[in-house]
């Protein structure tokens, strides 16, 4: 039973003021779990809305990537401020930082694997993925890259730390692969802009 810290009544209305501590004993909800589900469900609602708004599924994939990019340019600041990390030494360092990012923001640790011999490409493998927790792809959506927002996030975040990368899904659990595999490729280092009048 809820106990109200103070209640009073005027002629017509009731006013309840809630104290900070009040909650049913033992009913504390698992905040982390609920917020993770809030994110998952919200992302699902967004994908559903995009599928309504666009006739072409490729356009949905593109839009998800664009939105991811815009999230990425903010997320990178959040990541840098939280972790205090400096610039990457090499692409292996980048891979580990991306892995840490998944841990911080999605609570999962994808495996880093399948390095190319040149060291400019690797895969992130997800055995579980909160984005797709409640999802089954209907038959008419087989071209949908449900998690495509992640490719945009990586592009935006890396661009802000002077790195151009490309990424794409090579396996997808929603399409009955045993894992979800995201391939990440280093394209080039972006140079600092030189102020006018200098060279």
């Amino acid at each position: 039973m809820i106990v109200l810290s103070s209640t009073w009544r005027d002629s017509k209305r009731h006013l309840f003021k809630f104290s900070q501590e009040m909650s049913r004993a033992g009913s504390r909800l698992d905040s982390k779990k609920v917020n993770s589900e809030l994110f998952t469900l919200t992302y699902g609602a967004l994908v559903a809305q995009l599928l309504k708004d666009y006739e072409n599924i490729d356009d949905v994939n593109k839009q998800l990537e664009r939105m991811g990019y815009n999230m990425g340019i903010r997320l990178i600041e959040d990541f840098l401020a939280r972790t205090g990390s400096g610039r990457c030494y090499d692409f292996r360092d980048t891979a580990e930082k991306i892995q840490t990012g998944f841990k911080i923001f999605l609570g999962i640790t994808p495996t880093i694997t399948n390095w190319s011999t040149a060291g400019d490409e690797f895969s992130l493998c997800f055995e579980s993925n909160p984005l797709t927790e409640f999802v089954e792809l209907p038959d008419h959506c087989l071209n949908l890259k449900y998690c495509n927002i992640l490719t945009g996030v990586l592009r935006g975040a890396c661009e802000m730390v002077q790195m151009e990368v490309a990424s794409w899904f090579v396996q997808d659990q929603l399409k009955n692969d045993s894992v979800t595999e995201l391939r990440v490729k280093f394209i080039k280092r972006l140079e600092d802009a030189i102020p006018a009048g200098e060279d």
Binding site: H14, L15, S31, L46, D53, M67, L75
Partner: protein, 171 residues
């Protein structure tokens, strides 16, 4: 090889995923407004609808282990306390009702407005309603699943506080 799956040591409070939600929400608002031709109201209804579908589902996870609520006021009190503090870090500050299906929920520092507006300033007042449409839908969807069909609107008179008006339809 490192163990996969939900790693409980990382982000124990869920702070990371909460930030992630905020960035996603901001992008959804931008997207919906970019679709707007002239009729902003109609476009915000897309956000409201997305919120509704999320609210309808998430409330099941929040309230499933609890016995049925005693009455409508009991549902509203649950929304004001546990529901609100789980999603928005704090409880509703004031609840008013006429005991005939109308409720006013006042949050003096609503989470999605907290980083935007300073007290006593009118800056961003005009743009802020777009940041509440999703939350209105979330509230309406949650109530609908608990059996209270309603309309929900939000009112901002001074950031970062806001009031959610709930009007429950009586059969």
């Amino acid at each position: 090889m490192k163990q996969q799956g939900l790693d409980s040591k990382a982000d124990p409070t869920g702070e990371g995923v909460q930030s992630l939600f905020e960035y996603l929400h901001a992008e959804m608002v931008t997207y919906v407004l970019s679709k707007a031709d002239n009729d902003k109201e109609e476009e915000l209804s897309r956000l409201e609808w997305m919120g509704y579908s999320v609210g309808y589902r998430i409330i099941e996870r929040l309230s499933r282990e609890w016995s049925r609520f005693k009455d409508e006021l009991d549902i509203i009190k649950f929304i004001c306390t546990d529901f609100w503090s789980t999603l928005y870090h704090k409880q509703i500050d004031n609840l008013r009702t006429n005991h005939h299906g109308i409720y006013m929920l006042q949050d003096n520092e609503f989470r999605l407005l907290a980083n935007i507006g300073s007290k006593g300033s009118k800056q961003y007042l005009r743009e802020s309603p777009r940041l509440l449409a999703f939350s209105c839908g979330l509230l309406r969807g949650s109530l609908a699943n608990l059996g209270a069909v309603s309309t929900v609107t939000a009112e901002i008179s001074a950031l970062p506080s806001c009031i959610f008006h709930i009007k429950v339809q009586r059969m």
